[in-house]
Symmetry: C2
Subunit: 396 residues, 2 copies
């Protein structure tokens, strides 16, 4: 048996452990008495047209077509419609040949990492705080995972650290904005600086350095904020996208990889992605969900619910006295732990049936992540518990 | 970029090339004038209850539940129902903890290969003729792929060759029965001999040698034939299953891995599978299709259509004078090429708009594979073309 795989299967993530704690407490005390902020499972239902379209697809089409294999890169119609949608939004000239339909963002990332790396010395960077599974995905592609330390307080990109780290083995940097877990959206200015820096480094080392955009939260932003479309800033950008969050379909596994024409040797990078997908056993993305996306490419779930939750949680916590990063997007709030050890804080919070994730899991110490894709009532009802938890620290 | 992945993406399989030829000819001559036997895409629609159940699931449930993440190993309810169904059919004592829901057979195999191998010297065997992608899956797991040469004419298991090949590095042997491409079902007797042989070799080398059953065609068998349930013969059997063929859902990517309790260190093998799934970016199997399987675990598509096609094709071809292996299961017929070079035969067949796959792609020389998951009319109408093709050889 493979020991590495056993460890991966065995080491249940802390999020899952907390989920079990929460489940047990809910059974004991009642669901409304436990304030679980651990899981990033969309709480807002899909747009009404989503299920209507699925029913229509099932009722009005040859079932052998609807449920049949598509080509490995995905149904031509859905890829064409996605390209058109992107072109309309970002003024780009994408076409179907640049898009590869995948089983969600995790698949997109695993495939992209495998496609662009060859040697164990090849490095892929994540910017802290970062989504924990990046490490697993990069290492399983046989490459080296490196973490750019956080820009504490703002949680933008720590350029002075990045500058020291990029070297001849650097193949890619993952950019996840809106960010899980910080809720931060990297500014146009930051992306511009990053693009200029990487262009310089590409020239210095004589090979491409890719930006891998992991952007399942692109559509979940607040206050009319615009998320920079990174390929418009930097030629060697590969997009890994998922419909999990914007259409509230996390369990259905549907997303894509976009390799724009501006990418160095783009046709071959695209083919290497197809090859990596084949090597990992991804035959095609779920067929009916491909056909759904073709019909719903303009839609998102109702984001107002998340905006309302963001305000309820941020305002409630800061009013009590907690120090929080103001979330610009996604459905996570990053909060400073009242004591340095965020695990100890997590344990104390459990006593008040507040369940949260220590930031250590995301490459940052002394913070916690709160997923506010929950009912607004959960947030409102949790406030007295947050107050008591806060008081415990004041009286120390 | 990764050159291996580029090659995998670039080397479109011959099946895909033939598909393109067929498409072009159909556009030129009309679909009814081209006899395409290349693709294993089920032609029989799913059982009527399948789409009805999907509509019901969509209409009667919380969409956040239906489309939400399940646990990585799959929804407990579906795993429980599958275990019960298997126990009823095979007199076993499986339970949910032994089942891991996957995105189809290709995912199941990739994950299992990665879970049970550790060193590049670890060997996984396939028995010729075999499904081409096995080589890709084994090698991408970092292990060595070896082929047991065919038992020509019967296409059972070549035990004398196998006996010479098994060595201290042998970790597993893939058993695909009903077989793609031969249509052969390995007999109870053959499985018994295989089990005894591997038990002996396990003792000799002091480590497990797994049978990996790839059995998406289990339910597609004819003449009331019974496919041996291999875990009942051999303790170290891992099942990789898919609902693609039996429920005609190939594009939806739903299947499972079963690690019976009889497997050495079964709990850890199961966990290593979970770990390998995580490492390849498989978050969960498509949620609504898991819930569908829970409701349709007893169903299959109507297999009579395939049985009818089998008879039409086998009887038609043998009457003309072709030498064919009598298909016992799956929807493939293995036919001897009238000349040694099956590629040359393939080219000659194209002149009559008959499209077929040379057996070289499956590790056997001098045969071709015909996929008869087509309309019966295609088979009936193809007969004059088969006759003309046959005549061409007689007049040489």
């Amino acid at each position: 048996m493979n020991e590495k795989m056993l460890n991966l299967g065995n080491n249940r993530s802390i999020i899952r452990e907390l989920f079990e704690f929460s489940k047990t407490q809910k059974e004991k005390l009642g669901a409304d008495k436990v304030y679980d902020f651990t899981i990033g499972n969309p709480s807002v239902p899909p747009h009404k047209k989503v299920n209507k379209t699925l029913v229509k697809l099932l009722n009005e089409n040859d079932p052998c077509f609807i449920h049949g294999y598509t080509s490995a890169q995905g149904d031509l119609d859905v890829r064409t419609k996605i390209a058109k949608n992107l072109n309309k939004r970002f003024g780009t000239k994408y076409d179907a040949s640049m898009l590869y339909m995948t089983c969600g963002a995790a698949a997109s990332l695993c495939i992209a990492f495998r496609a662009i790396t060859e040697e164990p010395t090849d490095e892929i960077f994540a910017i802290a705080p970062y989504f924990t599974e990046y490490k697993v995905f990069v290492e399983s592609a046989g490459a080296t995972f490196k973490v750019v330390p956080p820009e504490v307080k703002t949680f933008g990109i720590n350029f002075s650290a990045l500058e020291k780290m990029v070297n001849k083995n650097t193949k890619a940097i993952i950019v996840n904005s809106p960010n899980n877990p910080s809720g931060v959206v990297y500014s146009h200015e930051a992306i511009k600086i990053l693009a200029e820096f990487l262009t310089k480094k590409e020239k210095e080392f004589g090979h491409p350095i890719f930006i891998i955009c992991d952007e399942p939260y692109r559509e979940i932003v607040y206050d009319g904020l615009e998320v920079p479309h990174i390929p418009s800033y930097y030629h060697n950008t590969i997009i890994c996208y998922s419909y999990s969050k914007c259409l509230s379909l996390p369990g259905e596994r549907i997303g894509y990889i976009l390799v724009p024409e501006s990418v160095t040797d783009s046709k071959n990078i695209y083919l290497a992605c197809l090859g990596a997908g084949r090597a990992y056993g991804y035959v095609c993305a779920p067929s009916i969900f491909q056909k759904l996306i073709a019909e719903c490419v303009n839609l998102t779930s109702d984001m107002c619910e998340y905006a309302k939750n963001r305000d309820l949680l941020y305002n409630g916590l800061t009013k009590i006295g907690y120090e929080c990063v103001y979330p610009q997007g996604a459905f996570y709030l990053f909060m400073k732990s009242p004591e340095d050890d965020s695990y100890k804080f997590m344990e104390k919070a459990k006593k008040y049936n507040i369940v949260l994730v220590p930031s250590d899991n995301f490459g940052v110490k002394g913070y916690v992540r709160l997923a506010y894709c929950v009912s607004s009532d959960t947030i409102i009802n949790s406030m007295p518990a947050w107050q008591e938890l806060f008081n415990e620290y004041q009286s120390e």
